[in-house]
């Protein structure tokens, strides 16, 4: 009972403090039929005596939820102090060096200011070359100006170009001033320090993007892509992130979600107004669901691509000595990375080389030829080869077309297979038959060898470079990227988006099953709604707690 009146007390106190002039009224506390109660009731048919459990907590449980009837709430004009809170996060003006530091100095570096007093701060540190009649500097949006940055004592620090981008036509939708300084770290830091001394605050990592998101310039998936664009390792990764910012993925998700909602509307309309509506065309419906499901699947496939774009792929080249592994590596990366001789066992250590296939960064690992040897150095090399083969994403086993499949090859294969089995991995492997130039017309009979262990086999000639394109194609096929159209879909899907896409796909599959099983119409809506919810989570249109906390953990808000 005491608890039950707690909100009342609070309410009373509030009244007394804030509205002491208005007549006191009887406090109203809501008795809420909350959800836990209603689900309990739903389940109550399962448990024997749920009622006694249910009844107690209801009136008292939600002390955090108190609903007050405030007579004046529509008229009471809020006092300034109250709503100022809403703006606090926007009131500070942030500054940071937005070009990279640490490497060799570039010709130009940029210090960016963003926030309501960006112009004010800039006018304090910046003196335009062209004199104006007006005393205060008044920037024109998107017009570049030349001038000097002065420190607090009036000393010139750097000669700069100022690019003002006034709200809302800027990245953050706030006033943004960019100071293009000379690229050396010293210059940049001095300019930044001056800005900070003039009243700016150092930006947190990602804070410009955060502001862009908070001010509605970017949606959630776009904001996430900004982060990826900045850290992109390859051109394709950058392209994908850029496509994400521009909203290619967002628009696909949005269109899928709209389709779900349209179907839902169609079906629900028939629940209420069956007489007025034409009958549902089941075939058409199934087709639609099928297409949607396919689109989700396609999008999911780019998730794989995304992982590869971010982390790259490791390919180990293994084989007996002197089958041309190092030649293959050199031919592939188009450089003399590895020493190539006629002598078997030339390569002792693992040699790395980088290539890209379809934008995916790939690390090639050339290894020592695997054989039993007494040479201590070579022995260590062989051990390393085996270790590398175990850790790679893909194994390329090279054999010589001249010698054909030998007993040693079988032994070597068994060794690799044994190792793999012991760790339980299932690394795919490709058989490369090298030196085709020395033994023409031996291209038959390999299929049989292949079928057991290798996913594919490719004929190459490391000397002429023949077969390398085919090899690349096979590599892509095996990692599951052949279906990505080159130049077609550029954006990719990250982990969070992937989870929701999987959920969408599962819901659509269940929906198909429901329709096929001829379950009543109403049941179709449940999974359709689930699909729509999942899609809404991706674009942030349905924000769950999880998404929100994710955002707040990524960006530091409220500091």
């Amino acid at each position: 009972m005491a608890l039950e009146y707690f909100p009342a007390l609070r309410h009373f106190l509030r009244r007394v403090c804030w509205f002491s002039q208005s007549p006191p009224s009887r406090p109203a506390i809501p008795l809420r039929l909350n959800l836990s109660f209603c689900t309990n009731c739903l389940l109550s048919s399962k448990s024997t005596s749920p009622i006694s459990k249910v009844l107690k907590p209801r009136a008292t449980s939600k002390e955090n939820y108190t609903f007050f009837l405030n007579k004046d709430e529509r008229f009471a004009e809020p006092v300034g102090a109250v709503h100022d809170l809403c703006r606090v996060q926007n009131t500070s003006t942030i500054a940071a060096i937005v070009t990279s530091l640490g490497g060799p100095p570039g010709a130009v570096g940029i210090v960016r200011l963003s926030g309501p007093s960006a112009v004010d701060i800039a006018s304090r540190v910046f003196r335009p070359t062209r004199k104006r009649k007006k005393i205060t500097w008044q920037p024109i949006s998107h017009v570049v100006e030349h001038g000097m940055v002065l420190d607090t004592d009036g000393n010139v620090i750097d000669e700069v170009l100022v690019v003002p981008m006034l709200a809302p036509r800027s990245y953050t939708r706030e006033d943004v001033i960019e100071l293009q300084c000379h690229g050396s770290e010293v210059c940049l830091r001095r300019v930044l320090r001056t800005c900070l001394e003039a009243g700016a605050r150092l930006a947190e990592p990602g804070e410009f993007t955060l502001r862009a998101f908070l001010n509605g310039r970017l949606d959630l998936s776009q904001a996430e892509n900004v982060g990826r664009l900045i850290t992109a390792k390859s051109v394709a990764a950058a392209d994908a992130a850029l496509a994400g910012i521009q909203g290619g993925f967002s628009s696909l998700v949005r269109s899928l979600r709209i389709q779900c909602i349209e179907l839902l509307t169609e079906i629900e309309a028939r629940l209420d107004f069956d007489d007025e509506m034409p009958p549902l065309d089941l075939n058409l419906l199934m087709d639609k669901i099928h297409t949607m499901s396919q689109e989700v699947q396609d999008a999911l496939e780019t998730a794989n691509y995304d992982k590869l774009l971010q982390s790259g792929l490791q390919i180990a080249i293994v084989g007996r000595p002197n089958v041309g592994k190092s030649s293959l590596l050199n031919a592939w990366c188009k450089s003399e990375r590895a020493i190539v001789t006629e002598i078997a066992g030339t390569t002792r250590d693992v040699i790395e080389a980088s290539v890209t296939i379809n934008g995916i960064p790939i690390t090639l690992l050339d290894t020592a030829g695997i054989r039993d040897t007494d040479d201590i150095v070579e022995k260590i090399g062989v051990e390393r080869s085996e270790a590398v083969a175990m850790g790679a994403d893909l194994i390329i086993m090279t054999v010589s077309a001249v010698e054909g499949w030998t007993l040693e090859d079988t032994k070597l294969l068994e060794r690799i297979q044994y190792n793999k089995r012991s760790v339980g991995s299932s690394t795919p492997a490709i058989l490369v038959i090298n030196k085709t130039d020395c033994a023409p017309g031996t291209e038959i009979g390999w299929t049989k060898v292949c079928s057991n262990f290798f996913s594919k086999h490719v004929f190459t000639c490391a000397v002429t470079g023949e077969g390398l394109q085919e090899l690349e194609r096979v590599v892509l096929e095996i990692v599951g990227l052949n279906s990505i159209p080159t130049g077609g879909r550029k954006w990719t899907v990250n982990q969070r988006q992937c989870e929701q896409l999987v959920r969408t796909k599962e819901a659509l599959e269940r929906l198909k099953a429901s329709i096929e099983e001829k379950l009543p119409l109403d049941f179709w809506t449940i999974d359709l709604r689930d699909a729509a919810l999942a899609l809404g989570q991706i674009s942030g249109e349905d924000m769950s707690e999880e998404v929100l906390s994710n955002i707040f953990s990524k960006f530091c808000i409220g500091k």
Binding site: E4, P23, P24, R26, A28, P30, L31, L33, N34, L35, F37, T39, C41, L42, S44, S45, K46, I51, V54, L55, A59, Y65, T66, F67, L69, K71, P78, V82, H83, L85, C86, V88, Q89, N90, L202, A203, P205, E207, L214, N215, D219, L271, D272, D274, K518, P520, L521, F523, D527, D530, G536, G540, M543, S544, E545, L548, I551, F552, I557, G558
Partner: protein, 692 residues
């Protein structure tokens, strides 16, 4: 459909203040209520029997503000209910049963709970409302069960959540039954209070009165109080004389052989003889007459601007909107056992009276009919319900509750659902208790109220199944297990009902346990199940697993002697649904959970939406107007986009964090004042800052 209560304004809770003010020492704290008190007995209502035109307009007119009828005796009431329609009756009954001394003011005691439009209760979504009101301890379901002429379950093939019981009722008997109940309820007094007038539109013969009576009606008085009012339109079809209809050419529609019940109280489950409804269709000639005379209808003629319900369209709306449809179904429904009126369902029109008879006579079977009463369209005032909280108490005047058509709803069921909630809350309020709020997800009643107080109403509000997002959890069969415990706690469910309820739940749960444990193998049942479902049956399957197979119903267990004869038909249905659709139910529950944790988060009452520059202008305006109480409610406000919600959530979280930070700073400052001031940390510029 036009609702029964044209205005059920429940000025509940005011009564006590009123009587204090008038007859005892006025308390200064209630003085602000005074000017309003004079308004409540004025009430308007459309006397349907005198209707003679196609378009009319309700308006209120005041009688001299005397309160004599309350009696010279110093009667004091806790709750006064204005209007004896379906909302008013439920409200008055609920309040009186909860022990509040209640007064029900109505225009005509014999027209209590009158059904001015369709003589039917239930139907899709509406039946759920009736079941829920009954589960809470309301009356509508019982009366409908007692007075039915015909009952049918609709939507049988569309899933358990949309099964809808519909009853044709005897409208005279219905009003009499309700009157009997109201009159025999302790704590409840009834008075006739009459203020009524009609302002009419274009082609009405009593037009002369229109101008002169625009004085202080109830609406005007409420407007003076700052309530916003708006107008809505609805209509009712013509009635024809049953004796002039040739039924031999019409397709009869019989009631269900096994009668379903609205009420969970077996005392009212008394079967009676059913009457037949008939089906006819519009013809080419019907469509021709309507098309030729469209300019005579209020809507297409352009002199009525109020918004009619899209989902209950007049026949001219149907013909204009579905031009390629050659014929529309028309149902002929008896209005009672001893009255000649036949309700022409699906044929409401705003066409003038002179055209209505020729129009009716184009329908097969009605070639020689005589019209007892013409169809007409009406406009009425309502108060957009964002002005109420979810308890249905107005935000402006404490102790004043609105429910029924005044909130913009149409339908007896919707009215009753609001009525019982405001009745409960008025009684609790006068008793100083906390108010009851049904969450949206808890029930159709909750959904209804949430929609009313949140959404921008542009047409009369009718309950639809699609309005409930989680309707699989809100079925008619589990209305009692959802709401009866609340009814019990509130005090509307008596000992007898409570015991019945508990026994029923126990039987259902026992039966489910039994089905889980009993196994069958290689018997007739298994073979039959295999045949019906088309799926293989494994040896020693449980009865539960058999029931889960497609197209298998509990009846098949009965047929082979595996059923449980202790269970009623409805209880078997509960068991069947719980088992058969367990997967779906669980999935919907998890959807709900996921949504609800977020949606139930309260919004501070003092949020200044205008200061949130990241919200769209429209969202800022709408949110400031509606002042939602929770996040979920905010997201349902019309004009608030998902992007706005994102922005709102972020502002809230930012505010929270800022407030936290400020508190921390204050604490630190408090500590610092004791300690000699330290040198502030120099701003470090050595960090590498990456940013977009």
């Amino acid at each position: 459909m036009a609702a029964a209560t044209l205005l059920a304004l429940n000025l509940a809770g005011l009564g006590r203040h009123l009587c204090k003010t008038l007859f005892s020492t006025p308390s200064s704290s209630h003085a602000f209520l005074k000017p309003h008190l004079l308004t409540f007995p004025k009430q308007f209502r459309c006397p349907l029997s005198s209707a003679s035109t196609s378009s009319r307009r309700f308006c209120t007119r005041s009688s001299p503000p005397d309160l004599d009828y309350i009696g010279a005796a110093d009667e004091k009431y806790d709750v006064i209910v204005v209007g004896g329609g379906h909302a008013g009756c439920e409200a008055a009954l609920a309040a009186a049963r909860l022990g509040a001394k209640t007064l029900l003011l109505t225009l005509n005691i014999d027209r209590i709970a009158w059904q001015p439009c369709n003589p039917a209760v239930g139907g899709p979504a509406k039946s759920q409302l009736v079941h829920e009101v009954d589960a809470l301890g309301g009356e509508i379901g019982k009366i409908a069960d007692r007075c039915y002429l015909q009952k049918r379950v609709l939507n049988v093939s569309r899933g358990p959540a949309v099964h809808a019981l519909r009853a044709q009722t005897d409208k005279r008997e219905y009003a009499m039954q309700m009157k009997k109940v109201v009159e025999s309820t302790p704590n409840l007094s009834i008075r006739e209070a009459m203020v009524t007038d009609i302002l009419v539109g274009k082609n009405d013969n009593v037009e002369g009165r229109a101008g002169e009576s625009a004085s202080h009606g109830l609406t005007e008085n409420l407007q003076r109080f700052g309530f916003e009012t708006d107008r809505l339109k609805t209509g009712t079809p013509a009635r024809v004389d049953i004796r002039t209809v040739d039924f031999s050419v019409l397709e009869p529609q019989h009631g269900d052989e096994e009668v379903g019940w609205f009420s969970f109280d077996p005392d009212v489950h008394i079967e009676r003889e059913q009457m037949c409804c008939y089906l006819t269709r519009t013809t080419r000639r019907t469509h021709q007459i309507i098309r030729d005379n469209l300019h005579e209808t209020p809507t297409y003629g352009g002199w009525v601007e109020a918004k009619g319900p899209r989902y209950c369209p007049s026949i001219e709306d149907k013909i204009v909107r579905f031009q390629d449809k050659e014929s529309h179904q028309i149902f002929l429904e008896p209005e009672g056992r001893h009255v000649p009126e036949l309700y022409v369902q699906g044929f409401s029109t705003g066409l003038p009276e002179r055209l209505q008879l020729p129009l009716l006579r184009t329908l097969p079977g009605l070639e020689n009919c005589s019209m007892l009463r013409p169809a007409y369209a009406v406009e009425y005032d309502f108060l957009p319900a964002y002005q109420c909280a979810r308890s249905l108490m107005t935000k402006k005047i404490e102790g004043l509750f609105f429910s029924g058509q005044i909130n913009g709803t149409t339908g007896y069921e919707e009215a009753a659902a609001q009525g019982i909630i405001s009745g409960i809350n008025a009684a609790r309020h006068s008793d100083g208790k906390s108010l009851v709020i049904l969450e949206r997800e808890s029930s159709y009643v909750g959904t209804l109220i949430d929609d009313l107080v949140t959404k921008d109403l542009r047409e009369p509000y009718r309950m639809l199944t699609s309005r409930s997002e989680h309707r699989l959890l809100l079925r008619s069969d589990n209305a009692d297990s959802r709401l009866t415990p609340l009814g019990r706690e509130v005090g509307l469910i008596d000992e007898r009902r409570w015991k019945l309820y508990q026994e029923k739940q126990a039987r259902i749960s026992e039966e489910k346990k039994r089905l889980k444990s009993v196994r069958v193998s290689g018997e007739d049942l298994a073979a039959d199940v295999m045949k019906v479902s088309g799926q293989p049956v494994r040896d020693s399957s449980t009865l539960e697993s058999l029931l889960k197979k497609p197209h298998i119903q509990y009846g098949i267990l009965d047929k082979h002697g595996f059923g449980n004869s202790n269970l009623s038909r409805m209880e078997k249905e509960c068991v069947e649904i719980d088992i058969k659709y367990e997967g779906f139910i669980l999935r919907q529950q998890s959807q709900l959970q996921q949504m609800v944790s977020q949606q139930h988060r309260p919004l501070p009452a003092d949020l200044n939406y205008y200061a949130m520059t990241t919200l769209s202008i429209e969202a800022r305006e709408k949110l400031s107007k509606v002042r939602p109480q929770t996040i979920g409610q905010a997201s349902r406000v019309g004009g608030v986009s998902p992007a706005d919600m994102t922005a709102l959530l972020i502002v809230l979280e930012t505010n929270r964090r800022t407030a936290q930070e400020q508190k921390r700073c204050q604490m630190l400052n408090a500590i610092r004042t004791d300690v000699p001031e330290e040198v502030p940390e120099a701003v470090s510029c050595t960090e590498t800052v990456s940013s977009g």
